[in-house]
Amino acid sequence: MIEINNISKWYGPVQVLTDCSVKINKGDVVVVCGPSGSGKSTLIKTVNALEPVQKGEIIVDGTVVTDPKTDLPKVRSRVGMVFQHFELFPHLSVTENLTIAQIKVLGRSPDEAKTRGLKMLDRVGLMAHKDKFPGQLSGGQQQRVAIARALSMDPVVMLFDEPTSALDPEMVGEVLDVMVTLAKEGMTMMVVTHEMGFARKVASRVIFIDVGGKILEDCSKDEFFSHPENRQARTKDFLNKILQH
């Protein structure tokens, strides 16, 4: 489904991704973790070419996204993405947020788009809020709308960039619940998160990136959590810190 082959990326002189390779199969749920600034967000953004890379190749569902000739909007419309800060469009109502890209990008009729959008909204449990504006929702609700928005484009894969880290502790649960359900239904997912509970529950693989964008670990969930003695020192140190309190 997604193949990341030896990509490297620099911001000016600073290297933020170093020779990264990841392969994600259909139905995989891959959790990416690592310290702040290690390049997790950058990595996930390269998958639908929101950030260009200077070296390497990325193939999504058969399309080479790193090829300059690729029709990027088309690839992107098939990859769902959820951001740390939700990024709903604040000037549009919830329903409009759900339908605008379906109408303008996929060319669906407004009715069709609305039916599809509301179905997804119902799925995240927010049907009652369909006419509100994003600013009138809590963080957890906004993030669930953002997930519904991505889903209503019928993506082949979903990317999540720290979807719960901007949320009040109470609201983390409601968003993770939606994500767990999605995973269990077989959606292919790449998730940057520090929620190790989520990883334990549904991840098929866990990837650990260190500062400089180097992939230090890429192994199955069970291997990752059950055999800490096989992990690198850096990984153990990181896990200790985030699991301590």
Binding site: K45, N48, L50, L72, P73, K74, R76, S77, R78, V79, G80, M81, F83, Q84, H85, E87, L88, F89, P90, H91, I100, A101, K104, V105, L106, K132, F133, P134, G135, Q136, L137, R149, A150, M153
Partner: protein, 252 residues
Amino acid sequence: MALDWQVFCLDTLDKEPVKGCFGSGKDITYLDWLLQAWGQTVIVAAGALIVALVVGSIIGVMRTLPDSPILTRVGNWWVELFRNIPLLVQIFLWYHVMPFIIPAFAGMPKLALVIMGLGLFTSARIAEQVRAGIQALPRGQRYAGMAMGFTTAQYYRYVLLPMAYRIIIPPLTSESMNIFKNSSVAFAVSVTELTFFAQQAGEETSKGIEIYMGVTALYIISAFTINRIMAFIEKRARVPGFVSNTTGGGGH
């Protein structure tokens, strides 16, 4: 200091008071003249505002386009050029110098020249605000638009610009008020607007204080009207639940 408001009722030629203060036909009073001058001010300001909004938006957007270094550069130079030369000098250039270099300008009516001069001068500032408005949006908004599969034109149209314009309503308000005030330099190239009237009528009647007060009152009324109109637009465009914090600025 006794003020002599009678001065507005005088005929502009024979300086005799006119009944009812309004003249007829070509026999105008200073009051008539004042209102005509106000009309000129409004025409200059409104025309320039339209030019400034259109050009400023285009240039402002150009400067934020990703991966278009040339357009960005052109936009940047446009802004630098038009905002680093005093308006008065720019107007003189349009009026006295351009026709000499490009003869086509000689045939343009002076009002059109002034509107263009003031409009382009202000376009630099509006471009700056449009750019700032777009850049004030969280970077994620652009990414979100792209991630939904929008093309560049689409995500500007549907995602970035609607919010950017809302955010910059306050600075646009002061810029619209500025354009009204800045239209006063049009008098330097013989547009018979309010400041021209203040000077000429003040001279002819020797009642500077009364004349200036009348003119100042009209400027304040104009500024206030613009302010109300913009406040109305801001209210109509308000997004439920959205709170933005913008910092005010200077400018005249």
